[in-house]
């Protein structure tokens, strides 16, 4: 463990910026929102800001990404396919524990299972991660219920905890250790570890009561979702509130469904583009010929929450798919963010 003085932070980021493109939380001047974004101007980095409204998943899994380029000449019948590889090393500075947990879920999903997703792997290989202990939870936050915060446990190169005067630095990898040494950071004793724990405990106590109460109910909901014992009426009730806007999927740190389209450009090249998709859209499962096996909206909602909480899906992530960031509750124009869905399931359990 090391100490990082407040004024050393700039030095750290500048040093990183020599080798990496820096991403981090900054406050958007127009909207006033905190967003996790590319920091064109390194001094925009704001580690004391509240949780960003978007998770950093777009850095590894962009909204739109050209994965292939090809050209086909119908006359000469010649096809040329090129792989697109313009990936640069990227550093995530100040990622929250919830978002880091989400990123680890994506790792296990994209890099594990039967096949490795080569596109994701390219992004992931050249990544430097600096996590930041969350001391300012949103009212919607419930990472304490999903074991994903407020302090990071794994997956970082460096982990920062703000003490008010400076940062406690934890190294999580050789890469991180090397950077700390190169910066000549002052070593910290066991008191730093205790202090970090105290800061985390204080943060937990500042969570909204609903989050602390919800803890046991999430595992009950997991059980119900996995065994399929939730009544169709509950899904209908949830489905009736769904606007099918897909916002929950887009702000979710672990949602990773994508669509692939071949887009023809004016130059004659075609780009194979992979874009974010959401299981809330009706066209998501629609096949050629218009047959749609999953038509009613409640079927689609059922699928999303199955993905976030069921035990079967947890086996892919090695943890629940929900990381408790609360963003779905924040953006949902209906009232079916994940905590509320847990509440509806809970109501069914208690009221029968």
């Amino acid at each position: 463990m090391y100490w990082l003085e407040k004024n050393q932070l700039e030095q750290l980021v500048k040093k990183l910026a020599k080798d990496y493109r820096i991403f981090g939380p900054r406050r958007d001047e127009v909207s006033g929102e905190v967003i996790f974004d590319w920091l064109e101007n390194l001094s925009d980095l704001d580690l004391q800001a509240s949780i960003p409204y978007n998770p950093p998943k777009f850095i590894l899994f962009p909204h739109f990404e050209e994965i292939l380029k090809y050209r086909y000449d119908h006359r000469s019948k010649k096809a040329v396919i090129e792989r697109i590889n313009l990936l640069e090393p990227k550093a995530l500075v100040g990622i929250r524990a919830c978002d880091l947990t989400g990123l680890l879920c994506l790792d296990r999903f994209f890099l594990g299972q039967e096949f490795v997703d080569e596109v994701y792997l390219e992004h992931r290989k050249k990544l430097f991660i600096i996590s930041n202990t969350c001391v300012r939870p949103f009212p919607q936050c419930f990472c304490v219920c999903t074991d994903s915060g407020p302090g990071a446990k794994e997956g970082y190169d460096l982990d920062l905890t703000f003490t008010g005067e400076g940062y406690i630095v934890n190294c999580g990898s050789k890469k991180g250790q090397k950077l700390a040494e190169e910066l000549g950071l002052k070593e910290a004793g066991p008191e730093a570890s205790e202090l970090r724990q105290k800061i985390i405990d204080d943060s937990i106590s500042s969570f909204d009561r609903f989050a602390l109460e919800n803890k046991a109910w999430i595992s009950r909901a997991t059980n119900r979702l996995t065994t399929g014992f939730i009544k169709p009426e509950v899904w209908e009730y949830i489905g009736n509130q769904c606007f099918e806007c897909g916002a929950c999927s887009f702000v979710c740190p672990t949602c990773s469904c994508f669509n692939i389209e071949d887009v023809n450009s004016k130059t004659g090249d075609t780009y194979r583009v992979r874009t974010w998709d959401s299981c809330s859209f009706e066209g998501y499962t629609k096949m050629a010929g218009d047959h749609n096996p999953r038509k009613p909206v409640e079927d689609r909602r059922n699928k999303r929450f199955f993905c976030k909480l069921s035990y079967s899906q947890s086996k892919k992530y090695l943890r629940p798919g929900c990381v408790g960031c609360g963003r779905c509750a924040r953006v949902c124009p209906g009232d079916i963010g994940l905590p509320n869905v847990v509440t509806y399931i809970r109501r069914e359990i208690t009221e029968g």
């Binding site: 396919i81 096949f115 469904c257 075609t270 050629a288 096996p293 993905c307």
Partner: protein
């Protein structure tokens, strides 16, 4: 023995369409060879698997493989149904396509040696079954009774007329064909496939059944097979879904807790029943 299967995962391999055959209305068969001789040599499939086929400039679609893993010309049979398949139907011999795969689990083969095999197909449901039929016939002595029950709306809608002719003349292969309504000159059966299945003397013990066709046909055939005493875990089918990646990442083909592209597309009826979604 068979080479290990190394699927083409991300970048499609270019292949040439060498021959195109009109099968039935709106369905064409495209024979292809890979441009890279190494891939042409190394490309191995299991029956029941599928590939992702790129039509340059239009997109990519998932399609089941009708050819046998051994000694059979590589081809796909595709009905013109959406934007990409319409573009495929525009192609001429010599045109290029892109291939990724093969993906998916495939029909059991080694596991069912020594058993009786019943194939029941409706319409273009014969396409994915053809691979397994040809493969089993190539190893005929390893299996018990082998039966094909195939039905289509009219005699014109029967797929693979050349193969059918061959199969009718194959010894130890019981074939039954049916069309929905009587037609002049038709010597086969008349009626729906499930009715024919009900009438036939089919093996039951030590038997597996492969069923493929439209959902209505599928459900009614399953009912008849079960009435005869064939167990749900011995009835296999192959499912189709909207697919984008083929490698279990895009999640479009999720049914219940499984992904059709990696856990399927072949499921037993016992599994299908527990998936909790319509087929």
């Amino acid at each position: 023995m068979e080479r290990p299967l190394v699927p083409i995962v991300t970048v499609p391999e270019i292949a040439t369409v060498v021959e195109i055959r009109e099968e039935i209305d709106e369905v064409k068969t495209f024979y292809f060879t890979f441009d890279n001789p190494e891939i042409e040599q190394a490309f191995r499939i299991r029956s029941g698997q599928f590939i992702m086929c790129t039509v340059f400039g239009a997109g990519e679609f998932a399609v089941s493989l009708p050819f046998s893993p051994e000694n059979d010309r590589k081809h796909i049979s595709v009905r013109r149904v959406g934007k990409v398949t319409a573009a495929l139907h525009q192609l001429e011999p010599g045109d290029k396509i892109g291939i990724r795969g093969p993906f998916g689990n495939g029909f059991p083969f080694e596991e069912i040696k020594g058993k009786n095999v019943i194939y029941v197909a409706g319409g273009i449901g014969l396409i994915p079954l053809r691979s397994s039929i040809v493969h089993v016939l190539q190893h005929r002595k390893d299996f018990g009774r082998v039966v094909l029950v195939y039905g289509a709306r009219t005699s014109k809608d029967l797929m693979y007329k050349n193969s059918i002719k061959e199969w009718k003349a194959t010894e130890n292969f019981e074939t039954h064909f049916t069309i929905d309504r009587p037609e002049p000159g038709w010597t086969g059966e008349v009626g729906f496939v499930n009715q024919l299945v009900a009438r036939l003397d089919l093996p039951v013990e030590n038997t597996v059944a492969f069923v493929c066709g439209p959902p209505v046909m599928f459900n009614s055939v399953i009912k008849e097979l079960k009435l005869k005493g064939i167990k749900e875990q011995d009835i296999y089918s192959t499912l189709e879904r909207h697919m984008k990646c083929g490698i279990g990442k895009c999640q479009h083909c999720a049914i219940g807790r499984t992904l059709v592209c990696v856990d399927g597309p072949v499921y037993t009826y016992k599994q299908i029943k527990t998936l909790g979604e319509q087929i």
